[in-house]
Every structure is written in structure tokens, then in C-alpha cells.
Amino acid sequence: MWEYTEKVKDHFFNPRNAGALADANAVGEVGSLSCGDALKLMLKVNPETEVIEEAKFQTFGCGSAIASSSALTELVIGKTIDEARRLTNQDIAEFLDGLPPEKMHCSVMGQEALTAAVAAWRGEDLEDDDHEEGALICKCFAVDEGMIERAVRTNKLTSIEMVTHYTKAGGGCNSCREPLEELLADVNAAMVAEGMLKPEEAFVFGAAPAPKPKKKKAQGFVIPDMPPVAAAPAPQAPAPIAITPLAAPAPVAEAPAPAGRTPAQEAIAIARVIEELRPVFKADGGDVELVDFEGGLVLVSLTGACSGCQLANQTLGGLQKRIAETLGRSVRVMPVAKT
């Protein structure tokens, strides 16, 4: 079991301000059932003074999610909206005397709910905001660019593992690995430019994975090895990934593919790889189809038992690798809904 601090235990076993707040005038909701945690923060703000007079929460989640929510309400009560909006997830974690690294996303969820509630109070349209903040990066846990950037900046995150601990992004199928790496590299680069981060600490896209930040707590779960998505796969040494019996000679012959293929030729090559791998998906009770292909992006639709299952995502990883080998450059395979 996790090593929770006494403070976390106290706020879990005796949550402060749990329940609904009937006359709330600023509400922030984040998370969802499928993500595994969700928080509804309800504030009663004095319209004159903008002081938060009451705060209550409803949380679906683990012990540290409930404790973080409880801490959040204690932190905001009595503060003005302006003061409250300056709170970060660090403040929540510190209030609880720390959280296990793998659970930091609980504190981030608290901050996100607060941001949403403040926006609601100000009458800002969060939906629009979301779009301005950028694209959805991680579909598994519905995490967008804005949330990742905030977490990276607030907590000086410099590895994908840390980003996953703090935002959950990348903790599921792992198909968002590449955009996640790009984003982390961009934000880190900006932080270096602003003097917030030393250049040698920054995450560099395509570089070898950053060394583990600290030695892990003994009982912690180790995130399984993630296959590094090479920015430019070395065409000379394709790892033998025999995902189908047919695989043996074909990819080796095609791997050092000349760059001279036209997009149409590439599309045909991709279609052929998919056709070859279809039996694998079918064996697992599903199917895969090529939907679209543009530049570095290959869109496929998954049906049957495949859609949404972890297994399909592993197989998708294999597919991505095979296509990359065939084309001699890196591509991203993304599952899309079939229309």
C-alpha cells in the first residue's frame, strides 16, 4: 500500500467540507468516471468582497484524491478569488506534508478544479478557453496541452514519467508518447529561455530518456518500460519484431526504403503492412482498417474487441513500428472513430 503521510490519512478518514453545497455560485468540475478520478469543487463567493466564504467538494477517486480535495477546500476558504487563483498543486501537496510521486496527479486535479471554479466565477467560458489552451494530447485521460504545460511549469517536470505522475497523461495506452515528448521538450525549452530551468535539466525531444529522478519508494509500482519512439529509426538495424509469421524477410528488405516514395506509394505500402497485420487483430476478435494517411500521421479505425482495449494499443505500437520500418521514417499511428 502507499506510504501516505498522517496528514493525508487524516484528510481521507476525516474529510473536511465533503458534500454538496446548495447555494454555490462558482463550481469547477474536472475528471470523469472513465479516468478514475473526478472532482466537483463548489464555492460560495461573497459578490461584494470576492471572499470565498464556503467551499465543499464531491470526489470520486482514491484516498489521496479525497484528501487533496479536502485540503483544497481548507486552503481556499477565507481567501479572495484573486488569492485563491494563485494556489498551485504544490500548495495542496505541501498542505498534506507531501504525496507519493505517483499520486501527484491528485493535487493537480485539485488545482484544475479550482481554476475551473475561478473561471466560472469570472464568467469565462471554459470551453473556449480549453480550445485556446491547445489540443487534447492524451485521449486516455483527457489531458490537454494547457494542463500539461501548467503542471510542467509549476512543478518543473523534466521527464515523461514525472508528467505521467502529475497529469496521468501517457499512463494508459502510451500512444500519446510522441506528442507528449514534443510538448515537454517545447515547454522545457521555453523555461530555459525564461531562466526557470538549467539547460542541462531540460528534456530534449528524441534524446535518450532522462534518468529516473530519484530512486523509487520500495513499494511503488514501476511504470512498465515504454518502448522509446525513436525520432529517426536507424534503417540499418530494424529490431526483429515478428508480429506475424510473414514478418520475417519482408520488413528487412523494405526497411532502408528510399526516401523517393511518393505519398501515394507510401499509402500503398502502409495499406500493405496493415493488411499483413490484420490477422493479428482478428485473432484477438477485432479488426483494423486504414482510414487516412498524411505526412507522419496514420489514422486507423479499430473495431470489435480491439477498440479501446489495452491489447489493441500494444498491437498498435507494433503496427506503428512496422510502418516506420517500411517507410524508413517515423510515423504516428492513431486510432480514430470510424464515421
Partner: protein, 400 residues
């Protein structure tokens, strides 16, 4: 407050009689079974005795069909690698999506790094194997089928007898991970077509770090560990004599009272399950209602999260486990519940109660007493729960 231990699928308490039987093999008979002198002379006899006790428990025809290993994990690794190495003309494995990681992560590895094709057969919402997909996956390239006898999370039992016959029709070997089944369901290997079976001592009140792989006589076999000639050259390394003696004793004790024990455990489990489902509402039992281990009940509580339930249970001295993401440190619910397409509304709140022959009526009463209030308390706090009865989403329980 006496603790209530309902996590017996994770591990069991070692029977005191087992500990007692083991002690002399640490203190007096500490010799190496292979030695000539008196310090080792009795050890060989004790190992033979233990092997026979285990042979009886699993109904093996010969005692030398049993190879002692360091546990279920080693047995599984040995079985898969042996089948591939002994049948080089075949390079496919058929398994299921709900196996223990001791099978699945090895399969992932073999697929990724060693050119093996792996077919993972899906299950339905009750966790039952898709037999049509299984038949379709078998072929002339299948080296080995590995399907678990009973699932550790839901207790669902696969019809391994029939599945083994189908594997043989395709000329493939059949292995079963019976770590959760041994000691809980009658097993008579000599009357089946099963070629290999993995078991683990700590799941039936024996010591941890010891298991066995059954390999039917005549089955082509390649050892995983090479070295000395122990276990007839099939598993090198000085025998863990105290643990083997302990496993033998546990097997003997389990065998002696299994029928009665399991009838009693089934009754306790059913009382626990029915009581909870009735008292709590918006929850359902996962797994195959008609073919499940007698000791296992995994109940999915909607709109709340498993770790929170476990923490509150633990505070009252009740130990159970969950298929939820948060306890394992993974961010997603267990692969078993996902494979069964248990909706997210409930998968995060799945709690496994696993009983043993040490479970009492009083234990069940304690759980029945504690759980409804805990669930209420957490649901009161959940944004997805509405008090006025009408749950936010309608739901179709698989089994009530």
C-alpha cells in the same frame, strides 16, 4: 479487534502444522539431499514423501511428473519456454487476455523480442473464454496453448479439460496456470489431456517461494535453469528442502478436508456476496456465475473507487484487494476487468474478497456489517452519485 483476512488469492497464512513440519529441515536435517552422509540422508526421503503428497493432490499418474520450482511464476516461464524450445518448427502461442502477468508479460516479451506470434483469446462479460476464437487461433504453427484453470481476480474457471483436447487436435501442447485452482477444485490430471500445469505453494497455506510444474510423462521438455542434476536434470539448483516439505504437508492437509472445506467456503462466500449485493445496491458480482472458484467474490461497486474502499476497510481490520487502478500504481483498472468490458462506472470500484478454510462465520458478519456504511460514506462524497435513489446512469447488472 481481530483482523479479518479476505485476501487469500494474494497469499494465504502458512498452517502452523506446516511450519512445524519445516523446522527440522532448517535445524537438524539441514544437509543437501544429494550428499552421502547422514545430514542429508533423511532429506531425500522427505522430498519423496512431499512429492507423493502433491501427486495425490493433483492426481498425477507418476510422482516424477512433478518438478519443484521457485513458484508459479517460474513454473509458467518454464512451461512456455520449454514448449517453444522443444518444438522449433512451431512458433505460436495461444493464450487469453485475462491471464496472470506471469504469462502475459512473458508473452509480450516473446512476441517483441523472440519472433513468437501470440494469440490472446478474448473473454465475454462474464469472463468466459471465446471458444470460437480459440478454435480459430489454433493451427499447425501452435506450439503451446496456455490457459489458466481459474482466474485470480474473478475466480472464473475455464473448462481446461475440453480446451486441452482441442489443443491436441491441433497438435499443440497444453499448459494451464492452475495457481489459483490447486487446493480449491478437484484436480485429477491423469484423466485429462493436460500436458503441463503450474502451481504455487503459498496459495494453499504452504510457504512462499515454492511451486511446481507438472509435466506429463513423455512430454518433450527443455529446462529453464541448467546446472546440477536435481529434479532429474529438469530444474537445476539445490532443492529448497524445508519449503518442499512444507508444500507436501500443506498438500496433505488440503487434500484431507478439501471437499468439506470447499462446501463450507462456498456457503460463506455466497452469504457474503448475497448479503452485500442486497444491502448495498448498485453493485454486481463479476465473473462466471456458474463456474467460479468457491472462495472468490469480486464485487464491483458503482460510482466509487476501490482504493478508498480498501483504506476504509483496512481501518476496520478487514483486508481485501481491488482491481482498481490506484492501488497498483497503474492508472487504469485491471486488465481482467477491462477484458470483460466491465463499465468504467464500476471497474474502478471492484473489490475482491477471497476466502480460505480459515474464514469464519464471524468474519463474514464483520464484512456484512462494515461494507454498506463504507460504500454509503464514499458515495455521499462522489459527484456521480445522486442521493435521491435515481442513480445517474442506469445499469444492467451481470449477476445479482
Amino acid at each position: 479487534m481481530t483482523p479479518v483476512y479476505l485476501d487469500n488469492n494474494a497469499t494465504t497464512r502458512v498452517f502452523p502444522e506446516v511450519v512445524e513440519a519445516m523446522v527440522p529441515y532448517f535445524t537438524e536435517q539441514f544437509g543437501n539431499a544429494s550428499s552421502i552422509h547422514a545430514f542429508g540422508s533423511d532429506v531425500g526421503g522427505a522430498l519423496r514423501q512431499a512429492r507423493r503428497s502433491l501427486q495425490a493432490l493433483i492426481g498425477a499418474e507418476f510422482d516424477h511428473e512433478i518438478i519443484f520450482t521457485s513458484g508459479g511464476t517460474e513454473s509458467n516461464n518454464t512451461a512456455l519456454r520449454s514448449a517453444l524450445a522443444a518444438n522449433p518448427e512451431r512458433n505460436e502461442i495461444v493464450t487469453s487476455t485475462v491471464e496472470h502477468p506471469a504469462i502475459l508479460s512473458l508473452c509480450d516479451w516473446l512476441e517483441k523480442h523472440e519472433g513468437v506470434t501470440v494469440h490472446r483469446i478474448p473473454v465475454d462479460k462474464q469472463g468466459r473464454l471465446d471458444i470460437d476464437a480459440y478454435r480459430a487461433a489454433l493451427g499447425p504453427k501452435t506450439a503451446l496453448v496456455s490457459l489458466m484453470w481459474a482466474n485470480n481476480e474473478t475466480g472464473t474457471i475455464f473448462p481446461v479439460d475440453g480446451l486441452a483436447d482441442l489443443a491436441h487436435e491441433a497438435g499443440a501442447l497444453f499448459h494451464t496456470d492452475a495457481v489459483q485452482a490447486v487446493g480449491k477444485v478437484p484436480i485429477d490430471l491423469k484423466s485429462t489431456a493436460i500436458d503441463m500445469l503450474s502451481l504455487s505453494s503459498h496459495k494453499f497455506h504452504g510457504p512462499k517461494g515454492l511451486g511446481a510444474l507438472y509435466v506429463r510423462r513423455g512430454t518433450r521438455f527443455r529446462p529453464l535453469l541448467r546446472g546440477g542434476h536435481q529434479e532429474r536434470g529438469r530444474r537445476a539448483g539445490t532443492e529448497n528442502a524445508p519449503a518442499i516439505v512444507g508444500l507436501g504437508k500443506a498438500a496433505e492437509m488440503t487434500m484431507a478436508t478439501m471437499t468439506d472445506d470447499m462446501a463450507r467456503i462456498t456457503a460463506l462466500r455466497d452469504r457474503l456476496e448475497k448479503g452485500l449485493v442486497q444491502a448495498v445496491g448498485h453493485c454486481f458480482v463479476t465473473g462466471d456465475p456458474y463456474d467460479r472458484l468457491p472462495n472468490t467474490s469480486t464485487i464491483a461497486f458503482e460510482y466509487i473507487e476501490g482504493e478508498a474502499i480498501l483504506l476504509l476497510l483496512n481501518k476496520q481490520g478487514i483486508a481485501a484487494s481491488s482491481g482498481s487502478a490506484c492501488t497498483s500504481g497503474s492508472l487504469e483498472p485491471s486488465h481482467v476487468l477491462r477484458a470483460m468490458e466491465i463499465p468504467f462506472t464500476a471497474a474502478h470500484g471492484a473489490i475482491r474478497f477471497s476466502l480460505s478454510r480459515e474464514t469464519t462465520d464471524a468474519d463474514v458478519d464483520r464484512v456484512l456489517d462494515a461494507v454498506p456504511a463504507i460504500i454509503d460514506q464514499l458515495r455521499e462524497m462522489s459527484p456521480f452519485w445522486s442521493r435521491d435513489g435515481a442513480a445517474p446512469q442506469t445499469f444492467d447488472p451481470a449477476y445479482a
